[in-house]
Symmetry: C2
Subunit: 492 residues, 2 copies
C-alpha cells in the first residue's frame, strides 16, 4: 500500500483526515480555515447537488442567485438572526488596495477606500433575500415564492475540520414566502422529507427526522426541523435543517401582502439548507480502515476496470473486450473508468481504488479472456467473485443496487443498535461513556436543564423525533415530569 491510513481504533479523527486528504476529496490551503475541494471530492459533490437539485425542482422550486454581501444595517434587522451569527462574520471594510510606500512590491489597504457601511460576507442569506422579497411581494398573487440558491457562505470558525467545519463552505439554501402559516409549515416539513429521502436513498445514510429544542433552533426561526445521522464513533451529525421562520423576517424587513379580501398581513417564511458538510458525514458513516466506501448512486466512478496483462498482445485483447464492456455499461448509465495506465501496477491500483471507495472493481486478465470471465470485487464487503462475461453489464448494474442497499443496511443496523434508552442519570452517563450513540431519555423541557446536561456531558438534544410516542416520565437530570423522551448525543 502506498498510502498509509490511520485506523479508526488508533485515532478516529486522524483516520477521517487521512481519508479526506489521501482519498483526494479535499485539502488544506494557504487561507486559514478554508479548504480546496479537489476534483474527486467535487465530482462527488456534483452528483449530490444534481440529485438534490432535481428533487427541489420536482417539488416546484426554482434557482436564483442573491448577493454575497449583506450591508450591516440589513444584517442586523432580524435581531435574533444577527445575534446568532454576529460572532462569526467576515467583514469587508475597504474596496481597494494600493502600493505600500514602505515596502517595494507590497500592497496595503487603501485607507481612502473605506466603505461607508461595512459589508458582511453572507453566513446565511435570509437578510439579503428578504430585503429583496420586499420589492417582489405586494399581493397574494405574488405568493408563494419558492426559491433555492446554490452558493458559498462564510462562518468564521476558530477550530476547523475539512468538510465538517470550515470558514467557507458550499451549500444550498431554500427561501420561500407564503400567504399562510399552515402553508409555510407544510413547506418546511416537505423539505425535511426531501432531505431525509436524499440522505437515505442517495447517500445510504439513515437519518432520524425531528424538531430541535429551543436552544438548538436556528437563530430567527420559530421551529427548526432536522435530520440527524450517526457516525461510527457514536457521535451524531446534523445532516440538514428546514426552518419555519414564522413572520420574523417579514416583520424585520416589513414585507406585507394583501390577501384576497384586500387585508394586509406579513408574509410567512421558511428556509432550509444542506451543505458540503454532508460529505464529511458520508465519509464517517460508511468508510473503513482501508479507505472510503462510497454509495454507488453518488460515487464519481461506480465501476473501475483494471487490466492485468503481460505484453502488448494480451493488452490488445483485453482492450477489445473492455471497450465493449465500457460501452455497454455507459449505455446502462453506469459511470465507469478503465484504468490502463501502464505506469502503475494492478496491486497499486487495487489499493488506490479501495482508498477512493469505488463501489465495484472489475479485474480482467489473460486467463479471464480464455475462460470468458472477469473478477469482480465489491468495495463494501471486499467480496471477490469470478463471473462470466455473458450478461456482465446487467450483472454489474444489479450489483450496484445491491451495494447501495447493503451500505444503507449496515449503517442502519449500526444506528439502530445505538439508540439506547436511559432512565437514570447514571445510565445516561454510562451509555455516553461506554457506548455512545443516541440516548432516548426524558427531559423536563427547560433550556436550563438542557444547558446543564451539555455542561456535564457535552451531550446535546439532537432532536425530538417527528414520530415520537408520548410517554409520561421524569427528567433524567432534574427529576421533574416529562411528557416524552428526546434524543441526546454528543455531536459534530
Amino acid at each position: 500500500m502506498s498510502k498509509e491510513i490511520t485506523s479508526r481504533e488508533q485515532d478516529y479523527s486522524q483516520w477521517y483526515n487521512d481519508l479526506v486528504i489521501k482519498g483526494a476529496l479535499a485539502d488544506y490551503t494557504a487561507v486559514r480555515g478554508c479548504m480546496v475541494i479537489k476534483p474527486y471530492g467535487f465530482a462527488l459533490w456534483e452528483n449530490m447537488r444534481d440529485a438534490l437539485d432535481k428533487m427541489f425542482k420536482d417539488t416546484g422550486h426554482v434557482n436564483a442567485y442573491f448577493p454575497l454581501f449583506v450591508p450591516k444595517s440589513l444584517f442586523e434587522a432580524e435581531e435574533k438572526n444577527a445575534e446568532g451569527f454576529a460572532k462569526e462574520c467576515a467583514v469587508v471594510t475597504h474596496y481597494r488596495l494600493k502600493s505600500d510606500p514602505n515596502k517595494k512590491g507590497a500592497l496595503m489597504v487603501d485607507p481612502d477606500a473605506k466603505l461607508e457601511e461595512e459589508l458582511v460576507v453572507r453566513p446565511t442569506s435570509e437578510a439579503i433575500i428578504w430585503s429583496t422579497y420586499k420589492n417582489w411581494i405586494q399581493s397574494y398573487r405574488d405568493l408563494p415564492i419558492l426559491i433555492n440558491q446554490w452558493a458559498n457562505v462564510v462562518r468564521w470558525e476558530m477550530r476547523t475540520r475539512l468538510f465538517l467545519r470550515t470558514a467557507e463552505f458550499l451549500w444550498q439554501e431554500g427561501h420561500t414566502a407564503h400567504a399562510t402559516a399552515q402553508e409555510a409549515v407544510k413547506e418546511a416539513e416537505q423539505m425535511l422529507e426531501v432531505y431525509a429521502d436524499f440522505a437515505e436513498n442517495w447517500m445510504a445514510l439513515p437519518v432520524i427526522k425531528g424538531v430541535k429544542s429551543e436552544s438548538e433552533r436556528f437563530a430567527g426561526a420559530v421551529d427548526t426541523y432536522c435530520i440527524e445521522a450517526l457516525m461510527q464513533d457514536g457521535k451524531a451529525l446534523q445532516a440538514g435543517t428546514s426552518h419555519f421562520l414564522g413572520q420574523n423576517f417579514a416583520k424585520a424587513f416589513d414585507v406585507k401582502f394583501s390577501d384576497k379580501e384586500n387585508k394586509l398581513d406579513y408574509v410567512w417564511a421558511t428556509s432550509w439548507g444542506v451543505s458540503t458538510r454532508l460529505i464529511g458525514a458520508l465519509v464517517m458513516a460508511h468508510s473503513d480502515d482501508d479507505g472510503l466506501i462510497l454509495p454507488p448512486r453518488i460515487a464519481p466512478f461506480q465501476v473501475v476496470i483494471v487490466p492485468i496483462f503481460k505484453g502488448a498482445d494480451q493488452k490488445a485483447l483485453i482492450d477489445a473486450r473492455v471497450t465493449e464492456l465500457v460501452k455497454e455499461l455507459k449505455t446502462a448509465g453506469v459511470r465507469v473508468k478503465y484504468d490502463d495506465n501502464e505506469n502503475a501496477r494492478p496491486g497499486w491500483k487495487f489499493a488506490e481504488y479501495e482508498l477512493k471507495g469505488v463501489p465495484v472493481r472489475v479485474a480482467i486478465g489473460a486467463r479471464d479472456l480464455e475462460n470468458n470471465t472477469v473478477e469482480i470485487a465489491r468495495r463494501d464487503t471486499k467480496e471477490k467473485m469470478s463471473v462470466s462475461m455473458d450478461g456482465l453489464s446487467q450483472r454489474i448494474v444489479s450489483l450496484l443496487d445491491e451495494v447501495q442497499q447493503a451500505i444503507f443496511n449496515k449503517a442502519k443496523d449500526y444506528r439502530d443498535a445505538h439508540i439506547t434508552k436511559a432512565d437514570t442519570w447514571a445510565e445516561f452517563e454510562k451509555i455516553l461513556n461506554e457506548k455512545g450513540g443516541f440516548i432516548s431519555a426524558h427531559w423536563d423541557g427547560t433550556p436550563e436543564t438542557e444547558a446543564r446536561i451539555k455542561e456535564l456531558t457535552k451531550a446535546t438534544i439532537r432532536c425530538i423525533p417527528i414520530d415520537n410516542v408520548m410517554e409520561e416520565g421524569v427528567c433524567i437530570l432534574s427529576g421533574k415530569p416529562s411528557k416524552q423522551r428526546v434524543l441526546f448525543a454528543q455531536a459534530y
Copy 2:
C-alpha cells in the same frame, strides 16, 4: 401591453435595462453594485453553464473549488496581476461583529477581531490556485492539471450595469498547468475554440477570434486570446478570454516540476473564463423593442402553449389535446410550458412571452380543435401560421432549429455589415460616429498610438484576428508602417 419597453432608438441603454428587469432576468438589490439573478435569468444561466460544463468535460477538464479569500501576501505575489486588480478589491479586515454599545439593537465591527493579514475577496483565482498547485506538482507525472471552477468573483466597479458590469458576478475560470509552453498555448487556443463554438452554436452569437494587444492583455498573461461580439448599437463586447500565462505564476509561487530527464523547470500555465456578462451580450445582440429574443438551445422555455377558450367544457377539450402535445414535446427533449393560468387573458400572455423571448408560442382555441390545427408564432420574426396537429411535435422541433439558425444568421449579417475598413483618420472617425461597429485599420503596433486613439475616440483595439491576412500599410493615426490591420471598436 402591461409592461412598457423603451425603444432602442429612444434610449438604447434604457431599452437594455427594461429588458433585463421587466424580462425578469435580474434586479437591483440593497447592495451597491450587486444584482440578484432572478429565477428566469438563472434558468438561462443554468442552460449556458450546463452546455459549457459538458464542453469542458469533453475536452478533459474536471471541476474543483478553491477558497473565496486570498491572503494579501499571496495576492501580491504575481506583481502584474496584483497591480491589475488592486484597485478593485473588496477586502476583509475583521472576522466578528459585536453589539454597538452606543446604539441599541445595532452591531459594529469588533476592533478586537482584526485579522493579522487582510483577505482579498477573489477578483480572479490565479494566486490562490497556484499557491495550492505548488503542493500538488513535483514531477511531469503530475501534469497536466486541467481544472475548472464555477464561482463568484468580486471586482469593485464604480459604475455598474446589470450583467455587464457588477461588483459581484458568476463565472467559470479554468486553470491549467503544463510541462511545456507548446502544450499550454495549445490549451489556451483550444479553449478559445470552445468559447467560440459555444457563443455561435448555443448563444447564436457570431464572434471574432483574436489576440489582444499588449495594453488590453490580462494582467499577468503573456498572451490573451479573446472572442469579440457586436451589439446592436455598434459597440463591441468581449465575450470570453483565454490566457497563455507563460511561467509567470509558476515563478511567483515557485512551482517547479522535474521532467523525464530529472531536470527542474517552472510549470507553464493557462487560465480562461466566461461570466454572466454573456447574458448581457445575449440580450443586446438579439432582442427587439418588444422584448427579449432568446435562442432556443439555451432558452429556459423553448415553447409556451396558451389556451384560448370560453367555459370549462372548451378548456377540458383543449387540456386533453395539450396534455398529449406536452408529453410528445417533452419526449423529444423540448422545454415546454403550458400556461393555463385563468387569471390572465391570452393577449396579456402573448405580450408577456414576447417580452420574455420564448422562441415559439402555440395558441390553441376551440376552432383549432375543430380544424385539427394550432396557431404557431415565432418570436424572432413574429411570423404566425396555422398548422395541423398531425406531426406537430416534430414540426416544432424542426422549427426550433430554424429559429436558432435564423437568430444566428441575422446577428451575423449585422456583424458582417459592420466590419468596415478605414484607411485614413478622417474615415476612421466618420465610421465611428456614423456607423459604429468594428473598424479594420492599420496600426503601428505601439501602446502609445493605441492609447492616443482611445483618448481621441474611446475606441480600443478589440483584437488582432487569429486568421488575419498580412498586409503592408500605414498606421491610421501615426502614419508609421504597419504589417496588418487590427480591429478597433468602442466597447462595453
